[in-house]
Amino acid sequence: MLQIIKTEWLKIRNYPAFWWVMGITALTYPSINSILLYQYYDLVQQKSAAGQVVKALLGNPFAFPETWKTVAYFSSLFVFIPAIVIIMLITNEYTFKTNRQNIIDGWSRREFMTGKLIDVVILSAIVTLLYAVIATIIGTLNTTKAGADKWGMAYYIGLFALQTFSQLSIAFTIGLLVRKSFVALAIFAFYFLMLEPIAVNFLRIRFHTEIGRFFPLNVSHKLIPRPAFFGRIDEKAYQESLEAVKYHIGYTLILVVLTWAFCFWVNNRRDL
């Protein structure tokens, strides 16, 4: 296993696209949270009555412990950026036929796929670490209340990690099946940004069904509910989304296992 990790890390750490995309992610995550943070301050610092109403309504979603959820929610909307690296890492293997060379050199197909699983784990860990650092910084800078429960909602680190891993696994599966980088990227982006959100909302509005929560990305999307201030708008829906988290942990774990079982099966069956 150590030898597989060493080999995969050697492949990743020298891949320029990995550092480019990590750089973009490292800029995007703090940027999007900072933009929302400044907008929040713009609103609540108004002396007007409206400003004070907003302040009372929103609370401070960027203070501890709420910041863990708020930053997780907004950061998770940009998982398609690290997904680019995941798709490139698998499709490159097919483009340059290095997957077959790895097998020829002595890996089993299972070991090759284990290596790719490790890639997704490594990237998920890096993205989660980035999220945790940003949430910590934002929380520290915005918590004014003495004795705030700093680690009260830190379990969102685990939920964010699981969600990221699950969604990157879906991106990986598309790369594995399609094998062409730009086609796979286009399919994932279209599905992530357009198809699934439209399908989920269409089913909910048109057919009054919540079946969309079992769609591949939405299963893990439900792990991180909207920030608490949304609850002021629709308290019932907010409480339901919090209640659903524990179920979606199970659904997501099942989906992750099925996804990787499918990937191992596909790789084992087909000619290289």
Binding site: N14, P16, F96, K97, T98, G106, W107, E111, L272
Partner: protein, 297 residues
């Protein structure tokens, strides 16, 4: 002892039968050439024995055991094209090969790069290499850790004449040290120079296999010429015994049953017909000739 036993292997791609019931053995310590025209199934066969493709039927045994990852680790291989990470240097690419196969140390990586004359460019990205350099790197990867068996698919692809000669010498040297080399090639001249055994494929079927000398020497070939080629041709039609005549530009080729060519008798026969030969040569049949005969090309 056989290094590789291939038994009844078949493989098809949809309706196209790439290999059909292929069986032969590759003895230890030989240089074994797998020959055949384009589409004859050479690369498919090598891909199956390296577990890149799965056979529809049949099986193969490496060192008497079913193929496995542990056996592949002992085999240095170059299949079809040099397959490396385009953004990694030669050293890093060979480090990956070494990590996976367990063959070769850091020092040996530098040694093989020196052997294939890539040492100066060892830290350059693979994507910056010429076709010949890529091929050299693939050969370096195959040589890493000095494996006892090498599987080389078109090893001289993209190499210049000097590079081709160097690879030929390398193969002869490795074979003398006891390595077994299995190679597929279109360059029959190269194969003839280095191979001790061959298998000739056509449309996925085995046409012939065995020791190169046995495969080639199925009949004797004698080349003759004289001042008057027309008279010579007419005279040779009455030569006693089984004989086939092939007229070339200024030579006449005589094909006789194996072991029956007698240069003295031919010379005497011509002289008795009033023809003085100015050229009389016993020729070994070229692999190219035999290949064309067998594959009807």
């Amino acid at each position: 002892m056989s290094v590789l036993q291939i038994e009844n292997i078949s493989k098809s791609y949809g309706k196209i039968q790439a290999l059909h019931n292929l069986s032969f053995n590759i003895p230890e310590g030989c240089v074994f050439g797998v020959l055949g025209p384009n589409g004859s199934g050479k690369t498919t066969l090598l891909s199956i024995i390296l577990d890149v493709l799965k056979a529809d039927k049949g099986h193969f045994l490496w060192f008497g055991q079913p193929g496995s990852k542990d056996q592949r680790k002992k085999i240095g291989s170059l299949l079809e094209t040099p397959n490396f990470y385009h953004y990694l240097s030669a050293v890093n690419n060979l480090t990956i090969t070494s990590n996976i196969s367990g063959r070769g140390s850091k020092e040996q990586i530098l040694e093989v790069l020196q052997k294939v004359k890539l040492f100066e460019r060892r830290n350059s990205r693979f994507s910056t290499y010429s076709l010949g350099m890529k091929q050299r790197l693939a050969i370096a990867a195959a040589l890493l850790g000095d494996p006892g068996v090498l599987v080389l698919d078109e090893p001289t692809n993209g190499l210049d004449p000097v590079g081709i000669a160097e690879i030929r010498e390398l193969m002869i040297e490795l074979n003398q040290k006891g390595h077994t080399i299995i190679m597929a090639s279109h360059l029959l001249d190269e194969v003839e120079k280095v191979c001790t055994h061959v298998a000739i494929l056509k449309k996925g079927e085995l046409i012939t296999t065995g020791d190169v000398n046995d495969v080639l020497a199925d009949e004797d070939m004698v080349e003759i010429s004289a001042e008057n080629m027309d008279a010579l041709l007419a005279a040779m039609h009455s030569y006693p015994g089984e004989i086939k005549l092939q007229q070339q530009a200024n030579r006449l080729q005589l094909l006789l049953p194996k072991g029956s060519a007698n240069l003295e008798a031919i010379n005497q026969f011509c002289f008795s017909k009033g023809i003085v030969l100015n050229h009389l040569l016993f020729k070994k049949k070229r692999l190219e000739t035999k290949f064309f005969e067998l594959t009807n090309n």
